[in-house]
């Protein structure tokens, strides 16, 4: 049981700065997910915590104890590797007990007791005498988790634990991992590139790109109030639609518009967020799920609708992704599965002004926070 503090961590990989002044706190028992596109530094960050990678500057504390110079085995951290790295020549039992034999003073009997305790909880007791090659993907994962947790580490790390498993099974296993984590109440760092997985398992999301932390927050905070355009585009599936729009004023009406897009906003909204930007461009982001297709029979609302051509439809079972082209601009809408326009149809769509995310055109930072 421990909390983890990272202060000003920087690291170079050759001449590339792969971590840039990373500051992070993870509370006792929390599950923090580090998420970002490949090459963002998330794996390096994890390896710095474990001690498999040396870093250039900064400090890492576990329970206020500086561990910068500790050997990996003395840090009281345990890790589940991406492809599990179960020792192929040892049985599950040997895989689980090896670490205890080398890092603790426990007797053989005590070690076996610990191993059996954890395999009971993880429901892998029946696999104890098997070799890794005889395990399914899901079983391997449990064993790998068992091997890490049997040592009762202060910090538990998982590196892309679902990447070796097919998508559908992965969805079941992520719920499983979360349950196990909650049961053991161990401080956990979980690394993934998959934003949906991150949202699903994390108590706390750490969005990383190019070695920099863009946002830290609960999944809801990150989804509903992204701090900048990158976070907005990275979190959420399909990705958010963005438009470069100019803030205009005519008589007592206010608009967001560009060559092929025209949207009226209320005065209240204008005064709250946009008064400083009159006559200037900004970036508006709208989630595919916030856009509604207007049916023919709904009264025509000129100021808030735009006609676009359906270019592609993807059926995702209980929902559809509809790809629209508005002149050359591509727009994605997520709808219920009952709404099925035809390819080539002209349709009108709209959205609530409260659902618009606003970003500065230069700094890309949110204007709504």
């Amino acid at each position: 049981m421990a909390n983890l503090t990272i202060k000003n961590l920087s690291n170079n990989f050759g001449s590339i700065r792969c971590l840039d002044k990373v500051n992070l706190e993870v509370d006792d028992g929390q599950l923090a997910v580090i998420v970002g596109p490949s090459g963002c530094g998330k794996t390096t960050l994890m390896r710095c915590i474990v001690g498999l990678e040396t870093f250039f500057e900064g400090s890492i504390f576990i329970d206020d104890e500086l561990i910068n110079n500790e050997d990996p085995k003395d840090r009281d951290v345990a890790m589940v590797f991406q492809y599990y790295a179960l020792y192929p020549h040892m049985t599950v039992r040997q895989n689980l007990s090896l670490g205890l034999e080398h890092t603790t003073e426990l007797t053989k009997d005590e070690i076996q007791k610990r191993v059996e305790e954890i395999t009971n909880i993880l429901k892998i007791s029946s696999l104890l005498e098997r070799k890794p090659a005889q395990l399914s993907g899901g079983e391997s994962q449990r064993v790998a988790i068992g091997r890490a947790l049997v040592r009762k580490p202060k910090i538990f790390l998982l590196d892309e634990p679902l990447s070796a498993i097919d998508a559908k099974l992965g969805r079941e296993l992520r719920a499983e991992i979360k349950k196990i984590q909650r049961r053991f109440r161990v401080t956990t760092i979980y690394v993934t590139h998959d934003q949906e997985e991150a949202m699903a398992v994390g108590d706390k999301l750490v969005v990383l790109r190019d070695g920099k932390i863009h946002q830290v927050g609960t999944p809801e905070e990150v989804f509903n109030s992204p701090k900048d355009q990158f976070v907005a585009s990275f979190i959420g599936k399909p990705p958010m639609n963005f438009f470069e729009l100019k803030v205009k004023n005519k008589d007592d009406k206010y608009f967001l518009q560009n060559r092929d897009f025209f949207y009226e906003i209320s005065k209240r909204y204008y005064e709250r967020y946009l008064s400083k930007f009159l006559g200037k461009y900004l970036i508006a982001g709208i989630r595919p799920s916030s856009i509604k297709i207007l049916m023919q029979n709904i009264p025509f609302m000129t100021t808030k609708t735009n006609a676009a051509t359906v270019s592609l439809i993807e059926n995702m079972g209980n929902e559809n992704y509809i790809y629209l082209t508005l002149n050359s601009k591509k727009i994605i809408i997520k709808t219920e599965s009952e709404i099925i326009p035809k390819i080539g149809d002209k349709i009108k769509f709209s959205f609530e002004e409260e659902d618009i995310h606003l970003f500065d055109i230069d700094s890309k930072e949110s204007l709504k926070i």
Partner: protein
Amino acid sequence: MPALVLNNISKRYGDVQALDGINLQIQDGEFCVIVGPSGSGKTTLLNIIAGFTKPDDGEVTVDGKPYNQLSPRDRNIGMVFQDIGLFSHLTVRKNISFGLEIKKSSKKDIDKRVEEIADRLKIRKLLDKKVRLLSGGEAQRVAIGRTLITNPSFFLFDEPLGNLDANLRVEMLTEIKRLHLHLKKTFIYVTHDQEQALSAASRVMIMKDGKALQKGPPREIYNNPIGKFVAEFFGVPSMNLIDGTIIPEEDGSLFQGAGLNVKVKGYSQSKKAEVTLGVRPTDVVVGNQITEDGFGTINSLELLGDKNQIYLTLEQEKSIIAVTSPEVRPELEERVKIKLKENRIFLFDRDQGGRLYP
């Protein structure tokens, strides 16, 4: 006229019946996805279509002509493999022209053809770039362009997205679909991933143990699965399946299982029977202001932004999943009411797996 007809294809490997009387007609210009778990025979079937494997029985015909005796290179098929398989040190132009250069066409003809294809795929600007500098989507186009040069009558895709990251996979699939719309050629696409099948196909064939279980447009299969296997296999997250008993009532029947009491109005039967009830996660309503079918305890909660995925435990340790709007926010360990949407319930035979209702 169907472009490709598979007539009663069978294949045995030793004791294993890899394919058992497969019939399939693929229309010209269709995007047909063959999907099934590993070991279902879909790869064997693909190899038979491509000519790498000979069937023990049955016939492949294309445009009415028998195909069985033709070697793969005479079948006029464009094949895109799992790892794309481009020559990364060559330019896009060289990669695309490769197929013609082997056939020793004249330089002028080749250039003309390559540029034609590049225009069609909108990769003309990339022609003199090295393949290793391309993005994933561009590489996919080039891989298709390369097969296009010999003017194949149809395309076979063998798990083309198997090696990719989840995010990229979705993007690339969209790309392939755009290409299909654009090229208007017949695509046959083999995958184990039902999600790809669901979103890409104009028609799907679901295979299991060498048999074709169900064929049809994905939406139809999603809404009307013929049995338990298809129902569970197709759709994300999987359909909830709950074992229980069906009891005859005056106006229909009552399902009892895992603590649920669900009225099934349209289904009448004379006596009690053991069945499995199926309901999609999106058709499970969770809340307190409803007339409930039963209760469940929240054991895990995934807040995905525009929807919530709720894991519930019913009686007898039965776990089910509900997908709700983001406003539904129960607490962990909370006991909540559950209602299954009427008319969205399926009943399956417990042992045989066949659909009983609707």
